[in-house]
């Protein structure tokens, strides 16, 4: 047995001197190879007296396994320290896989859509080129009505016999179109581009993106308008957001309101809203005593300006890639 212990000590000492992978391999051949020293000992076991043969044989086999493990360990250690010795300049730039960007108006529109979808709203779209009838008359804004001044309109040049067409000034015509094909319960938002004949400045664009909302069911009240829009604003701006509803006028709602939030100390108008005018419910073939509901509309650019701290609305449609790159990878 002493022989085995001495042998082990010698083998380990020899391994400790192996300074590279090749030396470990050589050590392995010298000790564990076919003519290796330990192999020779193992082969000699059969010449031992029978009473010691099993003990020495088992000990030699254990030693063989232990030395094999020691060799592997030593090899791993050597590899690790060799890697440690080498170094690269990690401050060099990486090879970037391309990362594109969604437009900030797409990002914000989607955020608004997600928020409303989570609240059970459907999302539909409508035509940009609308009939005067849908954009105005059927929303209770007949020609000559003082409220037409609220929207400066871009008209389509057309033959005199057809109905007059325009670039929709708001997404509200889709209220009428959606009511033409759907029955209550109705819970829908309509995102889309709108157009105003309006001079452009830091806060006004002639092309803008709106999100319209329409909810109609039995016996919905102003309380549901408030509850729904407050929930929306909480989801958008955080649970602590302070809100207020002030009276406002839109010809297609009654009562009409404007929802404001306290933003960095000031009250900021977020959306216009109100109970759907009973005549609009009635024109849709529904009983206004039974069905009530509310509508709302908001500007996506305005929300995007708040969200991204953009101070000039004109950045959005200039599409300067230096602006757009800042949205890389955002969702």
């Amino acid at each position: 047995m002493d022989d085995l212990e001495a042998l082990e000590a010698e083998a380990r000492a020899s391994l400790a001197e192996a300074g590279d992978e090749a030396a470990v391999d050589a050590w392995r051949v010298a000790w564990l190879g076919r003519r290796g020293r330990l192999t020779t000992v193992l082969r000699g076991v059969r010449d031992l007296p029978p009473e010691v043969r099993p003990r020495v044989g088992a000990g030699a086999n254990r030693l063989k396994a232990a030395l094999e493990d020691a060799g592997d360990e030593h090899r791993t250690r050597l590899l690790a320290s060799a890697a440690d010795a080498e170094s690269i300049d990690v401050s060099l730039p990486g090879r970037n896989p391309p990362l594109g960007s969604l437009h900030p108006i797409t990002l914000t529109r989607r955020l608004l859509e997600r928020t409303f979808r989570d609240m059970g709203f459907d999302v539909v779209e409508g035509p940009d080129v609308e009939l005067e009838e849908y954009n105005f008359d059927r929303l209770r804004i007949p020609a000559g009505h003082p409220a037409r001044d609220m929207w400066d309109t871009i008209w389509v040049a057309g033959d005199d016999d057809g109905p007059r067409q325009l670039l929709r000034t708001h997404t509200s015509p889709m209220q009428i179109r959606y009511l033409e094909r759907r029955e209550p319960p109705i819970r829908v938002i309509v995102p889309g581009a709108c157009y105003r004949y309006e001079a452009t400045d830091a806060t006004h664009e002639w092309m803008l993106t709106q999100i319209e909302g329409l909810v109609i069911d039995e016996n919905l009240s102003f309380a549901h308008l408030k509850g729904t829009l407050e929930a929306f604003v909480r989801r958008m701006f955080g649970a602590d957001i302070e809100t207020r509803f002030r009276c406002d006028y839109f010809p297609f709602v009654e009562p009409g309101a404007e929802l404001g939030v306290r933003w960095q100390g000031d009250w900021l108008e977020v959306l216009g809203c109100g109970m759907v005018h009973p005549e609009i419910i009635e024109d849709a073939g529904l009983d206004p005593e039974r069905y009530t509901g509310f509508a709302f509309g908001m500007g996506v650019e305005r929300v995007a300006m708040l969200r991204y701290g953009v101070r000039d609305i004109r950045h959005f449609y200039r599409n300067d890639v230096r602006f757009l790159r800042q949205f890389e990878g955002r969702r």
């Binding site: 090879r95 969604l102 609240m119 035509p127 389509v156 406002d248 009654e254 109970m275 005018h277 890639v321």
Partner: protein, 804 residues
């Protein structure tokens, strides 16, 4: 915008909250206060004084020395240059230390004790300009006040003006009384209506004038009152102060009354010199051909046949609802006044206003908001009473009142059930009636459960029950109404595969390094032609009557022009290859119907990726980069785009483009933009475009959502080298190989022509991966499959194995 001076407002209503609270409550209830303007807030050290003596200045002819008693123990002497200075005047006296406006620099300056031409001045007698009241600086401000000497001037003159932005349904918010009614409802007080009674003579009005309305649609009502024996002069100080505080200029007592009553009631009025009206009568009619009219402001109008005019027996004397004429105006010699209080159709006034004036007048602004014709008589009586009070005279008996547009005011029934249905609360009967009464809306309680309400003369917007309910809700305050979550079921969604596809394309392309752009929908004729698919011929487009920019007067028929412009504008800043894309609509005319709106994808790619630090060489973006993107897009969408060489579109180079189809249906194109077109938009270098019709593609995407389990059996790999005609599309070879049932995939790895390859031919080398889902392939399986493939390639492409 309506300026509401609080001193004026206080004549009709009381409130007991601060200015800020008042403004807040008005805004919340719908009369939005855009600004609170204060005058006199800075008049520290300025008090009421009296000039007790005036002496000449020893050293200056144009200056005088005034002794001012301002309630202190000792009067003070000041130097004053005002020509209107006189003993006994009550004046605004600025003590040393007061902040005044420097009349020349218009900046605030602190008043110091100083010597003027050798005499010490201990203060100053102020002009209106120095106090910031007006621009007046000809002389000192002479006050008409009973206030004790030494009273701060701000107690006497300071005012707060609310700048209110009325909504289009509330013309009454263009009046002090209209705002007073809001305040009454919000503060629980009541409005005191101004006196409107006056003595009448026994001459019936019918003997003095007549009113004929030839156009009852344009003029639903016209009233005239004739007042004899007036004396023209300045109006009383209180009226002038009121007009100035509301932003109007005093003129004379008659005109001031018409303006005062317009601001008080919201009803415009006009006064004619009765003697200057031919036959002393009024005709309301449309203008005659080539009729002319000189207005009060001196402008000379060529009237149009649509213009509504007020005429006498012969000629137009006023442009109805906008401005009076110059040759019937009130002058110093006027003795008899014909007072017009009328109602005009809003559309008529709007048209004439737009045709003849730049921004309209105070009168047209109100008429355009649609006034109730019932209001006319109330304002007429109030104005007559004020004229007689301020200019003397007597009114004829009665009013000449033509009222063809008289309509029975509808009674609106409001049930308690409806109030509760809309507001989710049920205010008491007393509360409802209190709100309505304070607003001047007459109302009755009809037990057991209804209110009968009628629209007052100064409003036109109370027509259905919900209009009344808004009144109740807004006065209670929307923020005081309950809030509740949405009940009921979630409706089934509408399916919109095109919209969904557009969103997926946005995600895929932005994920591959492209930047999404959103551009304008209008384009110009030139750029539209330059990017047309049929050489220099414009695609028929939807034209606009009043485009924002005259050069872009049509709706886009493709996303190309703005895409090119955007690419060019960004190219200089892009330091690497650039890819942009837009998902948007194009517009195609559709006869008299609405245009067809087609959702499209348009992407542009180009530029150079510079050599990298890590050894990759610089590389120019080329067709196969664009195609790779398309292939990845196809992978993402679960489809394969087939390319048919030659896009057949003049936007692209024929030999470097292809038509795209899915299942045999054309869906778009890909290729290099013609250099001349790219250059016309200032794009430098090669530019590649990808255009897809989302509308055409959406119905073709029928990918199953299921996937296959990966095979556990090993693949066998073989290389094939084929000699084919140089023109043979290598992709077609690969596709034919991939058709074999045992082939898992094919990779093209080499294309070669030259040495050892016959002229006009090329060598195509491919890795072919064979694999079966259910067993390990033997050499014989692979050999058999390969023979089949080679046979097919021989017959289909006349291909030869390179080895054989």
């Amino acid at each position: 915008m309506m300026d509401v001076p609080l001193k004026w407002l206080a004549n009709y209503v009381d409130w007991d909250f601060s200015v800020e609270e008042l403004a807040h409550r008005l805004s919340m209830a719908g009369a939005e206060v855009e600004a609170i303007k204060r005058s006199g807030g800075e008049w520290d050290q300025v008090v009421i004084g009296r000039v007790t003596a005036v002496e000449p200045h020893p050293n200056a002819d144009r200056l005088r020395l005034a002794t001012v008693d301002f309630g202190a123990d000792e009067p003070l002497q000041v130097v004053c240059g005002a020509p209107n200075l006189d003993t006994g005047q009550t004046i605004a006296f600025a003590q040393v230390g007061a902040q005044l406006i420097d009349p020349s620099t218009r900046e605030l300056r602190k008043l110091r004790r100083g010597k003027i031409r050798g005499v010490t001045s201990m203060g100053m007698i102020c002009s209106e300009r120095e106090l910031g009241l007006s621009d007046e600086h000809e002389g000192i401000l002479v006050l008409d006040t009973e206030a004790a000497l030494g009273t701060p001037l701000s107690d006497v003159l300071a005012d707060v003006v609310l700048d209110i932005k009325p909504t289009p349904n509330r013309p009454d918010h263009y009046s002090i009384l209209g705002i007073a009614r809001e305040v009454a409802a919000l503060s629980g007080s009541t409005v005191t209506e101004p006196a409107a009674t006056f003595p009448e003579s026994d001459i019936p009005i019918g003997e003095r004038t007549s009113v004929t309305i030839e156009d009852p649609e344009g003029c639903p009502r016209y009233t005239a009152i004739v007042i004899d024996g007036v004396r023209i002069g300045p109006s009383p100080q209180w009226m002038q102060d009121a007009l100035v505080s509301a932003g109007m200029r005093p003129i004379n007592n008659i005109v001031d009354v018409t303006n005062f009553v317009m601001l008080e009631w919201g009803q415009p009025l006009h006064a004619f010199d009765y003697e200057l009206l031919q036959e002393n009568r009024i005709v309301v009619r449309r203008a005659r051909p080539s009729e002319q009219l000189e207005l009060l402001d001196g402008s000379q109008l060529e009237l149009q046949p649509e213009d509504l005019v007020i005429a006498d027996a012969q000629r137009a004397v006023a442009l109805a609802g906008i401005m009076g004429g110059a040759d019937s105006e009130i002058s110093d010699t006027t003795t008899t006044v014909l007072l017009e209080t009328a109602n005009f159709q809003e559309a008529t006034i709007r048209r004439s206003r737009a045709a003849h004036t730049e921004s309209g007048t105070e009168a047209s602004r109100r008429f355009e908001k649609s006034l109730n014709p019932e209001l006319a008589e109330l304002a007429a009586r109030r104005a007559a009473a004020l004229i007689i009070e301020t200019a003397g005279g007597t009114a004829c008996a009665g009013i000449a009142d033509e009222f063809p547009g008289k309509a029975h005011a509808p009674q609106v029934l409001v049930t308690q059930r409806r109030i509760e249905q809309i507001l989710s609360i049920l205010p008491s009967v007393e509360e409802v009636r209190g709100v309505l009464s304070a607003l001047g809306i007459s109302n009755r309680w009809l037990p057991p459960d209804r209110f009968a309400v009628s629209c007052p003369p100064w409003r036109s917007d109370i027509n259905v029950a919900d209009d009344v309910i808004e009144e109740i809700g807004r006065i209670i305050g929307y923020d005081n109404l309950p809030s509740a979550p949405l009940p009921g079921s979630v409706p089934d969604p509408d399916l919109d595969p095109q919209r969904d596809l557009g969103e997926r394309i946005r995600d895929l392309l932005s994920g591959m390094g492209l930047h999404e752009i959103i551009t304008y929908v209008t384009v110009g004729q030139q750029e539209s032609t330059a990017t047309s698919s049929i050489g220099n011929e414009e695609i028929d487009s939807v034209r606009l009557l009043n485009p924002m920019n005259a050069e872009r007067d049509r709706m886009r028929t493709s996303l190309r022009p703005w895409g090119l412009r955007t690419f060019a504008q960004n190219q200089r800043e892009a330091r690497s290859a650039l890819g942009i894309f837009e998902v948007g609509k194009t517009f195609t005319p559709n006869g008299a119907g609405q245009p067809t709106e087609t959702r499209m994808l348009f992407a542009l790619l180009g530029g150079e990726t510079p050599a990298s630090l890590h050894g990759e060489p610089a590389r120019q973006f080329d067709f196969f980069d664009a195609k790779g993107l398309l292939e990845q897009l196809g992978t993402g969408l679960g489809t394969t785009f087939d390319l048919v060489p030659g896009a057949g579109d003049d936007f692209l180079i024929k030999g470097r483009s292809a038509k795209l189809s899915v299942d045999g249906c054309e869906v778009g194109l890909i290729g290099q933009v013609r250099p001349a077109t790219a250059a016309a938009f200032d794009v430098e270098g090669d530019l590649f475009a990808l255009e897809l019709s989302i509308a055409a593609l959406a119905p073709l995407l029928t990918r199953s959502e299921t996937v296959a389990a990966p095979s556990v059996f090993p693949a066998a790999v073989e290389d094939l080298a084929l000699i084919v005609e140089a023109s043979c599309p290598a992709g077609d070879l690969a596709a034919a190989i991939a058709d074999n049932g045992l082939v898992e995939s094919v990779e093209l790895f080499d294309i070669y022509s030259g040495d050892q390859i016959p002229a006009g031919r090329k060598s195509v080398a491919l890795h072919v991966y064979y694999r079966s889902p259910d067993r390990t392939l033997t050499d014989r399986d692979v050999e058999k499959a390969r023979r089949g493939i080679v046979r097919r390639l021989q017959s289909q492409f006349k291909a030869k194995l390179r080895d054989s």
